[in-house]
C-alpha cells in the first residue's frame, strides 16, 4: 500500500526566511531595507507552507516606515518585508533563539506529517535554510528544499512545485507562522465539508504596548488601518467574502446576489488570515494554470476562489456518468463525487447546504476559526517580530519548548551575570552571554555569546548573537542583529540595528533603522 494513500493530504510549508549564520565570517554587506521574500518552503507530502507575502501597500503605516529608510538603500521598496540582514533568510530569524521556521516544522512533526516540501525564494537563502534543516531535523523529518526565483509570489512558488503535488489535498503554511493551532483541525474541517479551500482565521493580535511608535513616528494622523474584512455565513463555517487590508478604502462592496443566496452574512474585521490553507489539489492546480498572472495566494487566489463560489461554471473535475438503469457509475476518483451525486438522489439526507441550493455552487470555501485560547501570530513586521519574541517567552511559553526557571525566565547555565544585575521575568539569555554589573534586563531576548557591559539597561528588546554592548547603554524596544557593537552610553529607542553595525559612543537614536553602508 502506498504510505501516502493513508494520508492523502499533502502539505507544504513555506518557511519565512531568516536565520542566523552558522559562521559569522560569512556576513555579507548589510542592507536593512531590502526586499526579503525569501524562504518559501513548501512541504510536499505534508504541508506546503507559503512564503508570507509582504503585502504592505503604500497606504499602510508599516510600509511607510519602511519607506522612510535612509537613502543608502539601493532599492526603496513599495512592499518591503522587514529584514535585518541580507545574509539571514527570514525563515531562520531567531525567535526566542530558535529559528522561526522551527516552530512550523515542530508543529508539523507533532502532527505526524513527516514529508515536507519547503520552497525558498532565492538560491542562497535556500542553501542556508536547507543546511540548517538537514542538521536540525536529520532523522525526524523528510524535508525537500526547493529554490525558486525571487519575487515570484506565493502563488508562483506553488506553481513551480505543482507538478510534485500528488495527494488529494494540499496544506500550505507560511513559514513565518507561530501558532499552536493543530493543522489536523484545519484539515479535518476541510475534509468534512469537502471544501475547495479552507483558511485558518485568527484574531487580530493586539500590538505590544510600549513600542507602538516603531513604525508611526512620522505619521501622526494615520492609524494602523490594516483591516481585514471577512464575510462569514451564519454558522461561521463558510467564507463568503474576503478583502485584505490593503484593498480596503472606505467602503466594502459585497454582491447582492451573494447575500440573497445565503440569507445572512456576518462581516467581521477582527479576524485575520493566518496564512494556513488547506487546498483541494485539483482546484488549486486548475486555478494556478488558468490564472498565470496570480502571484499571491492570500491576495489573489483566495479572493478568486471565494468570489467564484456562486458561479455556475464548474471548476473542472471529472463528470459522472449515469447509465440507463439509473446507476451512477462511480468514477475511480474520490468518493466525494459519488456522494454529491447521491445528494441529488436523497437531498433531504444532507443538511441544508445554502450555497449548493442557491444554484450553481460548485465549490465551497470554508474557514476554521482558531479558538481564543490558541496562539496564532505571523512574523510579518518588525512590530510582530518583537511581539512574538515577547509572547513566546511570556504567554505562549509552551511553544518555545524551554523550561522556565523559578523567576519565570530562561537563563542558560553558561551565562555569567555580574553583581547586582537583574534579569526580570519573561527574559531569555542564551549560552555564553555575559552581563556586567548593575545591568537590568526586562522582557528581552538575548542571543548567544553576547558581551554586555555594566550599567546597561535592556528593556523589551531582541538582541541577537555575538553582540558587544559596552557600558552604560540603554536599549529599549529595539532589535539588534548579529555582530553589532554598541559603544559606550549609546541610547537606542525603538530602533533596528542591522548586522555588523557599530553604534558610536554616546549616540542617541530614536525610531531609526541603522545599517552598515
Amino acid at each position: 500500500a502506498n504510505p501516502e494513500a493513508s494520508h492523502p493530504v499533502s502539505l507544504s510549508t513555506l518557511p519565512p526566511e531568516g536565520d542566523e549564520p552558522q559562521n559569522p565570517d560569512l556576513t555579507l554587506p548589510v542592507d536593512l531595507i531590502r526586499r526579503r521574500r525569501r524562504g518559501r518552503w513548501t512541504s510536499r507530502s505534508s504541508s506546503s507552507p507559503e512564503a508570507p507575502p509582504r503585502s504592505s501597500r503604500p497606504s499602510s503605516p508599516r510600509s511607510t516606515a519602511e519607506r522612510d529608510t535612509p537613502p543608502l538603500t539601493p532599492t526603496t521598496l513599495i512592499n518591503p518585508p522587514f529584514c535585518f540582514s541580507q545574509d539571514v533568510p527570514k525563515a531562520l530569524l531567531p525567535v526566542a533563539n530558535r529559528p522561526a521556521i522551527s516552530y512550523v516544522l515542530d508543529l508539523l512533526e507533532s502532527s505526524d506529517l513527516k514529508d515536507i516540501i519547503v520552497v525558498v525564494e532565492g538560491q542562497e537563502a535556500a542553501r542556508l535554510v536547507g543546511a540548517w534543516i538537514s542538521s536540525a531535523y536529520l532523522d525526524r523529518l523528510v524535508v525537500e528544499v526547493v529554490a525558486v526565483t525571487e519575487d515570484i509570489g506565493t502563488a508562483g512558488a506553488l506553481r513551480a512545485i505543482s507538478k510534485r503535488l500528488v495527494a488529494n489535498d494540499v496544506l500550505v503554511i507560511s513559514g513565518d507562522l507561530v501558532t499552536d493551532v493543530l493543522p489536523g483541525a484545519v484539515a479535518a474541517t476541510h475534509r468534512r465539508n469537502g471544501a475547495a479551500v479552507t483558511a485558518l482565521l485568527c484574531s487580530v493580535p493586539v500590538s505590544g504596548p510600549s513600542d507602538a511608535a516603531s513604525s508611526g513616528g512620522k505619521d501622526k494622523a494615520k492609524k494602523p488601518c490594516r483591516l481585514n474584512i471577512v464575510g462569514l455565513d451564519i454558522t461561521r463555517q463558510f467564507l463568503l467574502h474576503v478583502v485584505s487590508g490593503t484593498d480596503v478604502e472606505k467602503d466594502v462592496r459585497v454582491y447582492k446576489r451573494k447575500i440573497r443566496a445565503v440569507g445572512q452574512m456576518e462581516i467581521r474585521s477582527d479576524l485575520m488570515d493566518a496564512h494556513l490553507y488547506a487546498f483541494n489539489r485539483t482546484t488549486l492546480q486548475d486555478v494556478l494554470e488558468q490564472k498565470e498572472a496570480y502571484r499571491s495566494i492570500r491576495l489573489e487566489v483566495l479572493p478568486y476562489l471565494v468570489k467564484s463560489q456562486l458561479r455556475s461554471a464548474p471548476s473542472g473535475g471529472e463528470g459522472t456518468i449515469v447509465d440507463e438503469t439509473g446507476n451512477v457509475v462511480v468514477p475511480p476518483s474520490s468518493n466525494l463525487q459519488c456522494l454529491s451525486q447521491h445528494r441529488a438522489i436523497a437531498p433531504s439526507a444532507f443538511k441544508q447546504d445554502l450555497l449548493a441550493s442557491s444554484g450553481g455552487g460548485t465549490h465551497r470555501c470554508c474557514v476554521y476559526i482558531a479558538s481564543k485560547n490558541k496562539y496564532c501570530h505571523r512574523l510579518n513586521s518588525i512590530q510582530a517580530y518583537c511581539d512574538i519574541n515577547r509572547d513566546v517567552i511570556g504567554e505562549a511559553s509552551h511553544l518555545s519548548g524551554y523550561s522556565f526557571s523559578s523567576h519565570n525566565n530562561i537563563i542558560h547555565p553558561s551565562c555569567v551575570l555580574g553583581s547586582k544585575s537583574t534579569v526580570g521575568p519573561q527574559c531569555m539569555l542564551a549560552e555564553g552571554s555575559q552581563l556586567g554589573d548593575k545591568c537590568g534586563v526586562k522582557r528581552s531576548v538575548i542571543g548567544r555569546h553576547c558581551r554586555i557591559g555594566s550599567n546597561v539597561k535592556i528593556v523589551n528588546s531582541v538582541v541577537m548573537n555575538h553582540v558587544v554592548i559596552e557600558d552604560g547603554c540603554h536599549i529599549q524596544g529595539s532589535v539588534v542583529c548579529n555582530n553589532v557593537q554598541l559603544q559606550e552610553r549609546a541610547v537606542l529607542k525603538d530602533c533596528q540595528v542591522g548586522a555588523g553595525y557599530t553604534v558610536t559612543t554616546g549616540s542617541d537614536h530614536k525610531s531609526e533603522s541603522l545599517a552598515r553602508k
Binding site: A1, A5, S6, H7, P8, V9, S111, D112, L113, L182, P183, G184, A185, A187, A188, T189, R191, R192, N193, T325, G326, N327, V328, V330, S334, N335, C338, L339, H342, I345, A346, P347, S348, A349, F350, K351, Q352, S357, S371
Partner: protein
C-alpha cells in the same frame, strides 16, 4: 451495549477513539442509552486528524460528518457509510500471514465501532453492515486479493443501487397511484422518499397541496419546505402542536420511516407517532414509505428500550430568541433533567399501508418480507 452497566462502560471507554464525557443530569428511565456531552466531541476528534492511523481517512471523514450532523437520515447515512467502506476496501491490503476475509472483517468491525462512537448506528446501517460482512465471509478462497476487493466493491455498488436507488424509484411509482388531484397531503419532518414522491407527482402534473409538519429542536421540515417550494409545489407549514387543528383538511398522510419492525411498528423520527395517531383519530389513511432493506426482525413495543438520546442543550436554547433564557443553567438544578429523544415507535394500528419496493403491504406482512426476502438479499 447497555450503558447502565458501569464496568462495561469503563471497558468501552478505554478502547474508544473519541473522547467523550458522560452528561450530567440524565433521566433515570433512559440510563441504558449513551448520553455524552456534545460540545467537545467534534473539536477533539478534528484535532486528531493526522494521528488516527488505523482509521481510514474516508471513514474518519464520514464519522466527522455524523458528529457534526451534516449527514442525517437513514438513506444518507447508510450511503455515506457504504461509500466510505468502499474506499477503505479499495486501499486495503492483506497483511502477511492473515486471511483476507478474517482481517477485513476485523477492520470493518473497528470502523463500525468508530462510527458508533460518533453516532449510534441506525437500523438501516446495521442491515448494510450485516450484508457486507456476509459478503466478505462468503468470498471464495480461490480469489486473489485484487479480485476479492473488486468483487466486494461491486457488491457495495450493487447494494446501493438495488436496495436504495432503484427501490426508491419503485416506491415512487407505487405511491404515485395514491396521489390524486385535489389531494391535501400531510407529511412530517423530512423524509427523502416522501420528498421524491411529491416531486414526481408534481412533475406528472397532479394538482395537490402539501402540509409540512415540523417540530423542534431539529426543524428538519424547513429544509423540505424550501426544496418543495423551489419546485413550485403549494405548501403549508406548521408545527406539531397544531397538527390536530389542520388535520381536518388533510386527505392523506405520507410518512417516512427509519425502520419497520416485525410486529408492524414503525420506528421513525420522534413525533411521527403523534401525527399518525391524530390522523387515525380523524379517519385519514396513513401511508408509510420505507425501503425493504430497512426492515428488521426485532420487535419493539415502546420507545424506551431502544432509542437515541440527542443533545439536551438544544431544547433549552431557542435560536434567535436570546431573551428566552430561563433554562440557561438547567444543568445546575439537580431536580431538572432534559430529555431529547430522537426516535419513536408508532403502533401498527395507526398505519394503513406500507409502501415498499416489494409492493404495497399491510403492516402485518412485514415479517413475511423479512423471512422470505431477507435470505435472498443475503445470498444474492
Amino acid at each position: 451495549m447497555q450503558f447502565d452497566d458501569v464496568h462495561r462502560v469503563e471497558k468501552a471507554k478505554k478502547r474508544a477513539i473519541v473522547n467523550q464525557s458522560e452528561a450530567r443530569n440524565r433521566v433515570e428511565l433512559f440510563r441504558h442509552l449513551p448520553q455524552y456531552v456534545h460540545g467537545t466531541q467534534l473539536p477533539d476528534l478534528e484535532s486528531k486528524f493526522f494521528q488516527l492511523e488505523p482509521i481510514h481517512p474516508s471513514v474518519y471523514k464520514v464519522g466527522l460528518q455524523y458528529l457534526s450532523g451534516e449527514v442525517s437520515g437513514g438513506n444518507g447515512r447508510c450511503i455515506a457509510m457504504l461509500l466510505a467502506f468502499r474506499e477503505a476496501i479499495k486501499d486495503y491490503s492483506t497483511p502477511p500471514n492473515k486471511t483476507l476475509s478474517r482481517d477485513l472483517t476485523a477492520k470493518v468491525s473497528s470502523y463500525v465501532s468508530f462510527f458508533i462512537e460518533c453516532r449510534p448506528l441506525s437500523i438501516s446501517m446495521g442491515n448494510a453492515i450485516r450484508f457486507l460482512k456476509n459478503r466478505i465471509a462468503k468470498l471464495p478462497i480461490t480469489l486473489s486479493e485484487s479480485e476479492a476487493k473488486a468483487s466486494l466493491q461491486s457488491d457495495i455498488d450493487r447494494f446501493i443501487n438495488e436496495k436504495i436507488v432503484v427501490a426508491d424509484q419503485v416506491i415512487v411509482s407505487h405511491a404515485i397511484t395514491k396521489v390524486r388531484d385535489d389531494d391535501v397531503l400531510l407529511t412530517y419532518g423530512s423524509s427523502s422518499v416522501v420528498e421524491m414522491i411529491l416531486e414526481h407527482a408534481h412533475e406528472l402534473g397532479r394538482k395537490f397541496r402539501v402540509i409540512v409538519v415540523d417540530s423542534r429542536p431539529k426543524l428538519e421540515g424547513q429544509g423540505l419546505l424550501r426544496r418543495l417550494v423551489a419546485k413550485g409545489i403549494n405548501c403549508t407549514y406548521t408545527h406539531i402542536n397544531a397538527v390536530s387543528y389542520i388535520m381536518h383538511e388533510v386527505t392523506r398522510v405520507f410518512l417516512g420511516a427509519s425502520s419497520i419492525l416485525s410486529n408492524g411498528t414503525v420506528y421513525s423520527r420522534v413525533g411521527t407517532a403523534s401525527v399518525a395517531m391524530v390522523a387515525h383519530a380523524f379517519g385519514i389513511p396513513v401511508l408509510v414509505c420505507c425501503e425493504a432493506y430497512k426492515f428488521h426482525e426485532r420487535v419493539q413495543l415502546d420507545s424506551i428500550c431502544a432509542n437515541e438520546l440527542g443533545d439536551p442543550d438544544v431544547i433549552s436554547k431557542i435560536p434567535g430568541r436570546a431573551d428566552l433564557g430561563d433554562l440557561k443553567n438547567w444543568a445546575d438544578n439537580e431536580n431538572l433533567q432534559l430529555l431529547n429523544l430522537t426516535y419513536d415507535a408508532t403502533p401498527s394500528d395507526y398505519v394503513s399501508m406500507i409502501i415498499t419496493d416489494y409492493g404495497m403491504l399491510p403492516p402485518t406482512s412485514v415479517p413475511v418480507i423479512v423471512r422470505e426476502y431477507r435470505k435472498e438479499q443475503l445470498w444474492v
